[in-house]
Symmetry: C2
Subunit: 202 residues, 2 copies
DNA sequence: GTCTATAGAACGATAGAC
DNA sequence: GTCTATCGTTCTATAGAC
């Protein structure tokens, strides 16, 4: 008689890793939808098909879960802006690209942006969390810096400030303008964005 | 015998209105200190010298109380930045002033800033509130615009964009940089602020 | 048999409603 | 002031991997 093929059982470590990934995946959806305060760990666990026990077996608590989520997101250089900066195309092209796509995919990020703002406010009132969020923001700034350095190497562009200062300015301004656009989609915002990029990227 | 002057009794409507004002006054302090989520109606009532019953007699709930606070809060052009813009002094002076005072009084606004960020996040998820906040932001942008126009009239400065665009940029950037500074007081931020002002004020 | 990831109950605190 | 609901966290029991 032919043997029924065995599906190899997951090792304990593999099972735990998978659980963690599924929890993170569920957390991304639930947090984005209901916000930080509006999300309970029960909701996350249920969405992932587990219970709170699984959450606490993999994360030290709610904050830790969110920060793990944030790290996951930061590690994927997702924004189109950075690619444009790196790519070394002329700022005319950069501007056109930005203006053209400004509002197209903005709405997809609405929930995540709201979540980010909410956690930012949370962090402003708590030393421990503030420190942890600060570390992540510094990493993001560093990433912008490295993008600019690549651009300089490729095009020899001259910046209006030091690379770090320009990177910080780009980071602050682009994020803030995105937030304003999500709250109030004024038609002038893409033009402002393009103009500022022109001034900053040299 | 001389009559003791009567202190006219408050009518019921007057008493209720006074209670409402005192609750709002207390709410402003408590909300700023503990944030929207961190504030309980008990705390507000107690700070005003009432009980929760008074709150529910005057507002339909926490959100309504907050919205009343928002409506009550007329934007008083408080920021030093606007005065500097209007005053028509050279950007060198403006920059020096900004750099010099950048962190001095920033900490005083921490609670208000955190509350604003928290409310912004809230507004991003609620159509009604978003509309109300949008109106206020437009007013703030208009105020910046009028400041810039006064500056232009006084100095004939040339801006890198239209007055409205420059005003929006100033508004977005200065607020965002303030928030970053409150979260993570990097020493480069004042310099960035000064440099950006120089670029924007012409 | 031992260890541990997870389920699920229990706890303590706190909120908003009325 | 009470009442109910809910949340984050902790604790314990258990099933399954080793």
């Amino acid at each position: 008689m032919k043997e029924i093929p065995k599906k190899p059982r997951l090792s304990r470590a593999e099972a735990k890793a998978r659980t963690r990934e599924e929890l993170l995946k569920a957390a991304r959806v639930v947090f984005a939808r209901y916000g930080y305060h509006g999300t309970s760990l029960d909701m996350v666990a249920e969405a992932a098909g587990y219970t709170k026990g699984a959450v606490y077996a993999n994360f030290s608590g709610k904050e830790d879960l969110y920060l793990a989520l944030l790290d996951n997101n930061l590690s994927t250089g997702d924004s189109e802006l950075e690619e444009l900066i790196i790519s070394g195309v002329s700022f005319g092209t950069v501007s056109d690209k930005i203006t053209e796509n400004f509002y197209t995919e903005l709405e997809d990020d609405r929930d995540w942006a709201a979540l980010t703002v909410e956690f930012f406010a949370h962090a402003m009132r708590n030393e421990t969390i503030r420190t942890k969020l600060t570390e992540r923001i510094r990493l993001a700034q560093d990433y912008y810096t490295s993008c600019l350095e690549k651009r300089i190497a490729a095009t020899g562009a001259e910046l209006p400030m030091s690379v770090e200062q320009t990177a910080t300015t780009l980071f602050v301004f682009s994020n803030a303008l995105t937030l304003l656009a999500l709250l109030d989609p004024q038609p002038e915002l893409p033009g402002i964005s393009a103009r500022m990029l022109k001034m900053l990227l040299g």
